[in-house]
Amino acid sequence: MVVMIGPRRSAGIRWAMLPLAAILLILPCLVGIDYYLHVAIVCLVFVILAVSLDLLVGYCGLLSLGHTAFFAFGAYAAALLYLHLGAPLWITLFASGVFAALIAWLLGLLVLGVRGHRFVITTIIFAEIGRLIAYNWTDVTHGQVGLPGIRPPVLSILGVLEIDFASRAAYYYLALAITTVCVAAMWRIAHSPIGWRMVALRENERLTEASGIDTRGIATIAFVLSAFFAGVAGSLYAHYTGFVSPDLFYFTYTTTMLIMVFLGGKGTIVGPVVGAVLFTILPEALRVAADFRLMIFSAMLLVLVVFAPEGLAGLFNRFTGRSRKLTMRPGDA
């Protein structure tokens, strides 16, 4: 079993990034219609979510089905901070991340000692508990009614220039910047010694432990980091939609993120990004078949998991003969 971490990108791919970046930068001029920009912003939020989930599922091999809870906790933290203290996005972005990370750390104390189906079940239960709290603690969360009225930030530079991010185009650039920073940070983490240890944990936990690596510590780091970025995404989302409700805890959000990760290819950074983009555009394209949407998605996920467990990244690597990256049993994680 050869595990090569960090596929060496050829110069060609690096150059291909340039036109892509250019397109992303002039996107508001290209699409024109406000609605497509909305799709683009939501897509950017899901890029952060998918990549952060991949840190845990793809790199560390811990299948978490409660990821949306960190997203929702982050969104609620941002909403409450904004509504009660008037904190702008610049503050809530960080505070939401830290809040979600803190919850992940506490939860990790409890659940990271178990593996396999027990871990999977506790993560689902955790998200359900979160939903019950958001639903029932009406003094703080207003229950099912939710918390409306969270505004996008206004940036004033030296009192001379004021940028109001309330417009779709302005918020798009803001989201693009934040997502780029987050994905770059996660790429850095995944390709650092911490990331290597996560992969080692995924491949063989006992051997990793026998090599003197604190596996529990690495699992905790992965859990906390992935929650942190999900919390950041929650803040970005809350300031954009201006509204949070217990619905954010729904299992559907977690399923969506998982499809993105598995569609693109788990255990890579590019994979979930591509998966998130495709899986945000696809539902828009399938709008005509709205009634059958969830049936089509679930059938897709089923086919992916059974027949192409390594996703598009795996297919791409197989196609270009670069399958050395990972040689493992089909569907292993």
Binding site: G113, G116, I124, L132, Y135, L301, V305, V306, A333
Partner: protein, 286 residues
């Protein structure tokens, strides 16, 4: 304190349905090493088939119940022969994701066919309650308890005194060794899957008569069944049954303390079990 027997009884009724669902889940997990997150959908489909047979086709309750259980067993066999055979030997995350996808698919299929409105299966009994020992109940609820008791006795007998039952237990303990001594593993898997699906459907038929039938009930049932098997220990039949009853009773008493947090009772129980006894109350083989 007069209400305690009543709450205990209510808990037992709901708990026995949890037990019926969880037994199948345990059997499938123990034998095939697949955590079937679509198991609750058999419960939902059983209930909807019974609704369809009684309300749309116009059958009597008893033949409709039998037909529903049989139909879901057939579906179980079909799925075991196709999807679950592909998933055999796959990693946990693959089987979890694939069965979750299957679960979403079946739920939305039901939503499409039968609509989101809650439906009711007509009861074969005369309306009216029975009161005894300070407990108020209905014949439907007694049927639920009676059927669960009968199933437990039959399963216990079959597992301990028939050749097939012994083969199941042998496979439970050591799959390869069981195959080596000539047990037809494939046949056993199909049989177990069909029985597991059928028991879940049976629970769905009866609870659909007591409460209501709707597409979202399957997902909730799956979650409850997994809580039960985590409580009881995932590869133990006794654990599945006692875990189910325990969860039902705990939830029933949970409604006294905080009605809106009723569902949280099971969650807290599971977290405590994971903390202090990660293999579950009856987990000896896991």
């Amino acid at each position: 304190m007069d209400f305690i027997p009543q709450y205990l009884f209510n808990g037992l009724v709901v708990g026995s349905s949890y037990a019926l669902i969880a037994v199948g889940l345990t059997a499938i997990f123990g034998l095939m090493q697949i955590a079937n997150f679509a198991h609750g959908q058999f419960y939902m489909l059983g209930a909807f088939m019974a609704y369809w047979f009684t309300r749309v086709i116009g059958l009597n309750f008893w033949p409709a119940a039998a037909a529903s259980v049989f139909a879901v067993m057939l579906l179980g066999i079909l799925l075991e022969r196709t999807l679950f055979r592909l998933l055999r030997g796959a990693s946990l995350s693959s089987s979890v994701l694939a069965t979750i996808a299957l679960s979403i698919f079946l739920e939305n299929l039901a939503l499409h066919v039968w609509g989101p409105r809650p439906q009711k299966i007509p009861s074969p009994f005369e309306p009216g309650g029975i009161e005894a020992l300070g407990i108020f109940t209905t014949p439907d609820r007694l049927l639920m308890l009676g059927i669960t008791a009968a199933v437990v006795v039959c399963l216990h007998g079959a597992l301990h005194y028939t050749t097939t039952g012994k083969a199941v237990r042998a496979t439970f303990q050591q799959r390869e060794a069981a195959a080596l001594v000539g047990i037809d593993i494939d046949k056993l898997y199909t049989l177990t899957f069909a029985i597991g699906a059928g028991l879940a459907a049976l629970a769905g038929v009866i609870l659909g008569m007591i409460f209501v039938v709707q597409p979202s009930m399957g997902g909730v049932a799956t979650l409850k069944a997994f809580i039960v098997v985590t409580l009881g220990g995932i590869s133990s039949f006794a654990g599945g049954i006692f875990g189910g009853l325990l969860l039902g009773i705990a939830e029933s008493f949970g409604t006294i303390i905080a009605p809106s947090f009723k569902d949280a009772v099971g969650f807290v129980l599971v977290l405590m079990i994971l903390l202090y006894k990660p293999d579950g109350l009856f987990g000896k083989w896991s």
